[in-house]
């Protein structure tokens, strides 16, 4: 059988609104109808570029964050308990996911947080976690090699996997093992002997003594003998040059075919399908290698490809809790998302940021569809549908403009339902499910009309809330 060319560029005539919406669900957290209008007008290359080419700085976003007062103000350590401080970092990150115009940067930061997982319970110091998050933001679209080098020197990682205390006399294999198994090659692509040798290579990669916030190479505890890694000799180096050995090992690992496939598979699982076909993985791995391990260029090819837009992949990816919550907030145009207590809600949904369950990161795919976690999603759906209504930006409350969402369709509940399906799901409900929704909408409106709130615009606003609640609970919304 002739193998399929997955990554051929998608034919220009197949770039349509649905393709742009698919890309926005995967590379971002979904696009509103207004955002889709803009994306479609950019044309194929422009759409992909609008996701993968983000600017270094987002001054507008930083300014808005600064304006948000205490809840999102820059953290001053010592002014608040450590637990509050880490909650605030989580809320800031979630707020940026909802507010940013460059969602791929934040989504990749989340991907790398999952990949190079470290947890607050062990790292403890929020400054280290913040620094790591900023590294993911800054380098997440660059070369995988550069990111790996930064993470190997990242204080939170040095604490989390104990490399900080790995010395010539007692090399600690924790980091070395995960560098092979979870970060670069994947299990079975190395031997225990390689782990032991690489543990020796990274002896001396530690943090400054008084303050664990900075990387330091300490030649005094580095093992400067020769090492043999994957059959290749890494010549031992004394003094400050001992640090070079670690970079040589990273060069060696990132250049392996296994690493290209490992990263390509991760990207595909995250952005395209829970079970990527092996030939698709191979094809994307080659793109990764041809582009010097650049994540941005690899994704540019993927997002514009025939394979990425194949019908078989559309609406087939289970949203993670973060994806679910952030896409709900963005598509509703919600403001002040940090006032929803999303941080704690996500913990109950099984995805507490900065606290993945293990160094292997979070569950994926079907693993997210669990009863108690779904029940938490339905609770959040109700909370999102119940935030204050406001046309203007407000302080001190999460709010959305429900009246605009329902404007002009006061007399047409069916069209209202379809409009909100378009916004929240980017597709129609199954006819039977749509009938249930419309039936409930009618019964619900009847109840409201009996009540005290008979004013027409109030009733319409309630209809929008009701539809929002139902559609966020719909199985369709759980899929991207």
């Amino acid at each position: 059988m002739k193998s399929r060319a997955w990554l051929e560029p998608l034919a220009a005539e197949r770039w349509d609104r649905a393709a742009a919406a698919h890309l926005a669900r995967r590379a971002g957290f979904g696009a509103t109808p207004e955002e889709l209008d803009r994306l479609v007008a950019l044309g194929p290359k422009g759409v992909v570029a609008s996701f993968v080419d983000w600017p270094e700085e987002e001054p507008l976003l930083d300014q808005r964050q600064a304006e948000h007062g205490t809840a999102l103000a820059d953290l001053r350590e010592g002014t608040t308990s450590a637990q509050d401080a880490v909650s605030r970092l989580r809320e800031q990150w979630l707020w940026r996911m909802v507010a940013t115009e460059h969602p791929l940067r934040e989504k990749l930061a989340l991907l790398w947080h999952d990949h190079f997982a470290t947890a607050e319970s062990k790292v403890v110091r929020v400054a280290l976690l913040r620094r790591q998050y900023e590294t993911f933001q800054k380098l997440g679209g660059g070369t995988f090699r550069a990111l790996a080098g930064a993470i190997a020197r990242d204080p939170a990682m040095l604490v989390y996997l104990d490399n900080r205390v790995s010395k010539k006399k007692h090399p600690n294999e924790n980091f070395a093992r995960e560098l092979f198994e979870l970060f670069t090659l994947g299990i079975h692509n190395y031997e225990q002997r390689d782990v032991a040798e690489v543990a020796r290579v990274f002896t001396g990669w530690t943090t400054k003594e008084r303050d664990a916030a900075e990387f330091r190479f300490d030649p005094a505890i580095h093992d400067s003998n020769d090492k043999l890694v994957l059959g290749q000799v890494i010549g031992g180096r004394g003094g400050a040059r001992g640090e070079e050995e670690g970079d040589l090992v990273l060069d060696l690992l990132v250049a392996r075919d296994e690493c290209a496939r490992f990263v390509a598979e991760k990207l595909l699982r995250w952005f395209l399908t829970h079970e990527p076909q092996p030939d698709l993985v191979d094809e994307l791995a080659r793109v990764f290698q041809q582009n010097g391990s650049s994540i941005r260029e690899t994704l540019r090819v993927l997002f514009a490809s025939e394979g990425f837009h194949a019908a078989e992949f559309r609406f087939r990816l289970y949203k993670t809790p973060v994806d679910w919550a952030v896409s709900g907030a963005r598509l509703l145009g919600l403001r002040n998302v940090h006032l929803l207590g999303l941080d704690k809600r996500l913990a109950r949904m099984g995805m507490k940021l900065l606290e993945p369950p293990s160094v292997a990161g979070w569950d994926s795919g079907r693993g997210w569809i669990q009863s108690s976690q779904l029940a938490e999603r339905y609770e959040l759906a109700l909370a999102l549908a119940s935030v204050a209504h406001s046309r203007r930006p407000v302080h001190g409350a999460a709010a959305a403009d429900f009246d605009s969402l329902g404007a002009g369709l006061e007399q047409d509940p069916k069209a209202l339902c379809d409009r909100l399906c378009g916004r929240l799901l980017q597709r129609d409900l199954a006819p039977e499910a749509r009938a249930v929704v419309l039936e409930h909408l009618e019964a619900d409106s009847a109840l409201l009309e009996q009540g005290e709130r008979r004013v027409a615009h109030r009733i319409q606003r309630e209809r929008v809330r009701t539809l929002t609640h139902l559609l966020l609970c719909s199985p369709e919304f759980a899929l991207a």
Partner: protein, 414 residues
């Protein structure tokens, strides 16, 4: 019927049959897994998370080497609840010891496997899957058993932190994992200007109907089915919550979760396998104080649970089994009051309830022959105990669920 006269429960009760045929009642279920025509047998797995120190829970008595390498942690024989000449339970396990002496408990020592992994994650995965080594199925031993049960979403239930334990992960099924019995309920908005909670009731009902009306590809149906199962399970668990015993259980997380298990059993819901957790056994430091607290809680909570079942006349239907991912190092680490133990290999496993074969089983740990890390070898493979529970208690075929190489231990009364 006037709408505002309806309670949520009564309203939903009348509409269950409308939910696309996905309604369940324990009365209508086939009598699978009812060996010899008796009532269905129930298994409660109590996971002691973190790695219970088997040498402290059931300590070799007057053991010269142990006293030497555990100068802080080992207790003189006079302080132990002696079960035999050579071993005794931790003093905080006095109620468990009394049950043992009364012939109501099986204690298995040296339980583990032959390829010790000192990683929590790896070892827990192995215990969860009932497999050791590189093979991964992504399913748990209880989850695979669950596939043979009638397709009721409450056939198995995890009560704890809300995450599904790996042991219960099935091929196609995902048993509910709940924090308490009220946590799953679907809610609608409070109704401004309408009487009662009718608006919220109707909303929850509409969401359930939307789930059952959803048709589509595999992923869509999977989410819809889980959503519907969750909603239906929530309603039955909320009913059970009303029967939760208000007295007789101590105040602890474990006791609360076991009381919830008791409530589900008392309500005659079709749950055949429960999973509860007591966390905190990773006692690298301050082990003496931690075990005082943990084992005291375990002793009181399990005793209260068994006492409750006996009072309800249900003890004979319920088997409780503890698991733990590994034991701990023979020699203590650290000094003085902060002494603790590092990750080890084998540990102790308790079986209680009407079906448990009483006695002390498994060879005494051989502390004179330790491996290079300082751990003793397991004497009983945990999968042989799982195999015994599956075949003798649950009426399942262990060869199919665990592989043919694990001959079942005799864990329950023949």
């Amino acid at each position: 019927m006037k709408p505002d006269a309806l309670s949520r429960r009564a309203f939903l009760g009348t509409s269950v049959t409308a939910l696309g045929g996905l309604a369940f009642s324990s009365a209508g279920l086939p009598a699978l897994g009812r060996p010899r025509g008796g009532p269905p047998r129930i298994l409660v797995v109590l996971e002691l998370r973190g790695g219970l120190d088997g040498l402290a829970a059931l300590q070799p008595a007057n053991h010269e080497r142990l006293m030497r390498v555990r100068p802080t942690l080992a207790k003189p024989a006079a302080q132990l609840e002696l079960l035999a000449d050579d071993c005794g339970l931790h003093p905080r396990l006095a109620r468990i010891a009394a049950r043992f002496r009364a012939g109501g408990l099986g204690i298995w020592r040296g339980v583990g496997h032959d390829q010790p992994s000192l990683s929590h994650f790896e070892s827990r995965d192995w215990w969860d899957e009932g497999l050791v080594g590189e093979v991964r199925t992504g399913t748990g031993w209880l989850g695979r058993f669950g596939e043979t049960l009638p397709p009721d979403p409450l056939a198995m239930l995890a009560i704890g932190d809300g995450s599904l334990p790996g042991s219960m992960r099935g091929v196609s099924r995902r048993p509910p994992a709940v924090r308490g019995l009220s946590g799953l309920a679907l809610r609608g908005p409070e109704a401004p200007g309408t009487k009662g909670n009718l608006r919220g009731v109707q909303r929850a009902e509409a969401i359930e109907r939307m789930f059952s009306a959803t048709r589509g590809d595999g992923e869509l149906e999977f989410v819809a089915r889980l959503g519907l199962e969750t909603a239906l399970a929530a309603r039955r668990l909320a009913d059970a919550e009303e029967r939760r015993p208000k007295t007789g259980f101590p105040r602890s997380r474990l006791a609360t979760d076991l009381a919830a298990v008791a409530a589900v059993i008392d309500s005659n819901l079709p749950t055949r396998v429960f999973h509860v957790v007591q966390d905190g056994y990773d006692t690298h430091a301050d082990q003496a104080a931690s075990l005082e607290r943990l084992l005291g809680d375990l002793d009181a909570s399990v005793d209260a649970f068994l006492t409750h079942l006996a009072a309800q006349g249900r003890l004979g239907e319920v088997l409780l089994m503890t698991t733990t991912e590994f034991g701990r190092r023979v020699a203590e680490s650290g000094e003085g009051g902060s002494a603790g133990t590092d990750h080890g290999t084998a540990s102790v496993l308790f079986l209680a309830g009407g079906g448990a074969r009483p006695g002390l089983f498994g060879p005494a740990p051989d502390l004179e022959r330790l491996d290079s890390a300082g751990n003793y070898a397991a004497g009983v493979d945990f999968r042989r105990i799982f195999a015994g529970v599956l075949s003798q208690w649950l009426g399942a075929d262990p060869a199919e669920l665990l592989g043919p190489q694990f001959a079942p231990e005799d864990v329950v009364i023949a």
